[in-house]
């Protein structure tokens, strides 16, 4: 199932396009003062200048990346562990824990995490990790559960080891659904990460919080625009990944 090179390049153009727009906007934001003046004609300052947009963007990406990487490792790992014969007993526990993680509002996690972990980046990473686990765990469990038991039986019957069955049969077949879970998780976390600004983890949420505090809509729009573009970039990249032929 090979796709012609032209076609695959075409679809990568979408995430690259969003990325380009994101970077251009982050670079030119300070020069768009006249534009934002339209939104807030009476404010003394209409461009957020407490930190560079690139710095904020980089920190935002870093927080989401770390939290997502942890969530993927933990989530996929736990889901795999509880679908092995030895870990079956823990399946209900893990799937419930993951559900609880998501019903817990991230703001509440932050409020609870700050006394324990202090202000800054760490509590927001913890909150995002907990919040992002559910889609990953749920999808991985569903995907592995959905595999025809006959495949597992014949794989074992042919003389594959448990590890070979996992790597060569279960994971490749479950990959699209797992990837969809990761995509949901990361996209939600890009938006949720903005909350980190309330507890001193500076990122693209900063202009938004500052805008709310000072009733400065221009700030809010600047933060929201960049977060939205970042989410679109990542989401379309995942879409491209999902349509790529798995080998």
């Amino acid at each position: 199932m090979k796709q012609p090179g032209r076609l695959s390049l075409n679809t990568w153009l979408v995430p690259l396009g969003w990325l380009g727009l994101l970077l251009v906007l982050a670079a030119t934001m300070p020069y768009l003062e006249s534009l934002f003046r339209v939104i807030e004609p009476d404010m003394r300052e209409v461009i957020y200048r407490r930190a560079g947009f690139f710095t904020l963007l980089a920190q935002h990406v870093m927080v989401v990346a770390i939290a997502s990487l942890l969530a993927v490792t933990l989530g996929v790992g736990a889901a795999i562990a509880v679908t092995r014969p030895a870990g079956r007993d823990f399946l209900p526990l893990v799937s419930q824990l993951a559900s609880i993680g998501q019903t817990f509002p991230p703001v509440a996690v932050l409020a609870l995490a700050v006394p324990a972990l202090g202000f800054g980046t760490l509590p927001i990473i913890v909150a995002l990790l907990l919040y992002g686990l559910l889609p990953i765990v749920r999808n991985t469990l569903a995907a592995i559960d959905d595999i025809d038991p006959g495949l597992r039986e014949s794989a074992l019957g042919m003389g594959m080891t448990a590890g070979q069955v996992l790597r060569q049969v279960e994971l490749p077949l479950a990959a699209p659904v797992i990837l969809a879970g990761i995509r949901t998780s990361v996209t939600i976390n890009i938006a949720t990460a903005a909350l980190g600004a309330t507890i001193g983890a500076s990122n693209l949420g900063d202009p938004i919080i500052a805008g709310i505090v000072n009733s400065n809509t221009a700030y809010i729009v600047q933060g929201a625009l960049l977060i939205g573009l970042l989410a679109l970039t990542v989401d379309s990249a995942f879409e491209r990944l999902a349509s790529a032929p798995s080998t």
Binding site: S154, A155, G157, M158, G159, M160
Partner: protein
């Protein structure tokens, strides 16, 4: 040779297999037959240790199966299941080459072997090698399943209701191929089915199971002639047993080689089963058939009396 000595298996409170002893000789096609839940599949899976037996011993060529590493053991035993178990994300060629790849054969040898097997099972390489399982018909998929099981040239083939999900025509075709394949490759085959006609067609030896025990074993004709219990008798078709037996005997065994002067109008192939000859007689309301060979040349005659096996002339 596969030997079972007093083998039992319990699941929770249920006894799936209850102290069965069985000997399957090298090169034999042994069919385990019985209603669902009689323990036939469990018995099969205990041979390649997908299920571990609780009591008794299972020997392979004189050595207990427990003395082998289970993965190594399974790579030596072909395994075919009803749902084929073909990996949907692999091509036909890759599926067939699975066990040789697990055994780390050199690449060239694997592709050579895959090619040979596809030929053996009537799957043209150019057409099928790069197809995916979902692009195959049920019969083709099961052919690939058989090819995959034969890939590393195992001495033993375990088949768990491999043709049960296929339509009757495809099933009969594959049964015929199975008989040819068995004659050619001389593998020891343990075949599980609930379809008595399939069992009678394929078996060198039939093992009838009920509630985890072996009720009777023997050649198809032995069982038809002398069913040990009413259960076996009803499984064999009760009053239809005569027809079932007739299906196992070829016309040429009963025909009179050089028939009388006059050729009968209706013809029957010498390799056709007696049941078919009887059916032709019933259909055309005649008592004599001309027996022809593969080239449609008359070689003898079959009368109703001879068909019935009435020996006194």
């Amino acid at each position: 040779m596969i030997e079972l000595f007093g083998v039992s298996k319990h699941f929770a409170n249920e006894t799936a297999v209850d102290g069965i002893s069985l000997q399957i000789k090298r090169g034999e096609l042994c069919v385990l037959v019985g209603t669902s839940g009689c323990g036939k599949s469990t018995t099969l899976r205990m041979i390649n240790r997908l299920i571990e037996h609780d009591a008794g011993e299972i020997h392979l060529d004189g050595q207990p199966v427990r003395s082998f590493n289970e993965v190594a053991l399974r790579r030596r035993i072909g395994y075919v299941i009803q749902s084929t178990g073909l990996f949907p994300h692999w091509t036909v060629a890759r599926n067939i080459g699975l066990v040789p790849r697990l055994l780390k054969w050199p690449k060239a040898q694997i592709s050579e072997r895959v090619e040979a097997l596809m030929q053996l099972l009537g799957l043209p390489l150019a057409e099928f090698a790069d197809k995916y399982p979902h692009q195959l018909s049920g019969g083709q998929a099961q052919r690939v399943g058989v090819a995959r099981a034969l890939a590393a040239d195992p001495d033993i083939l375990l088949m768990d209701e491999p043709f049960a999900a296929l339509d009757p025509l495809t099933r009969q075709g594959l049964q015929r191929e199975m008989i040819e394949l068995h004659a050619r490759l001389n593998k020891t085959i343990v075949f599980v089915t609930h379809d008595m006609d399939e069992a009678l067609t394929l078996a060198d030896r039939l093992v009838v199971m009920d509630q985890g025990r072996i009720v009777q074993q023997g050649t198809p004709v032995e069982l038809l002639r002398e069913p040990a219990t009413p259960f076996v008798e009803s499984l064999l078709g009760g009053l239809d047993r005569g027809l079932k037996e007739a299906a196992l005997i070829q016309v040429k065994e009963r025909m009179l080689p050089f028939g009388p002067r006059l050729l009968a109008s209706e013809r029957i192939a010498e390799t056709a089963p007696l049941s078919q000859a009887l059916s032709v007689m019933l259909w055309h309301q005649v008592e004599r058939l001309t027996v022809v060979d593969a080239e449609d040349i008359p070689v003898g005659e079959l009368s109703l009396r001879r068909l019935l096996g009435v020996t006194a002339a």
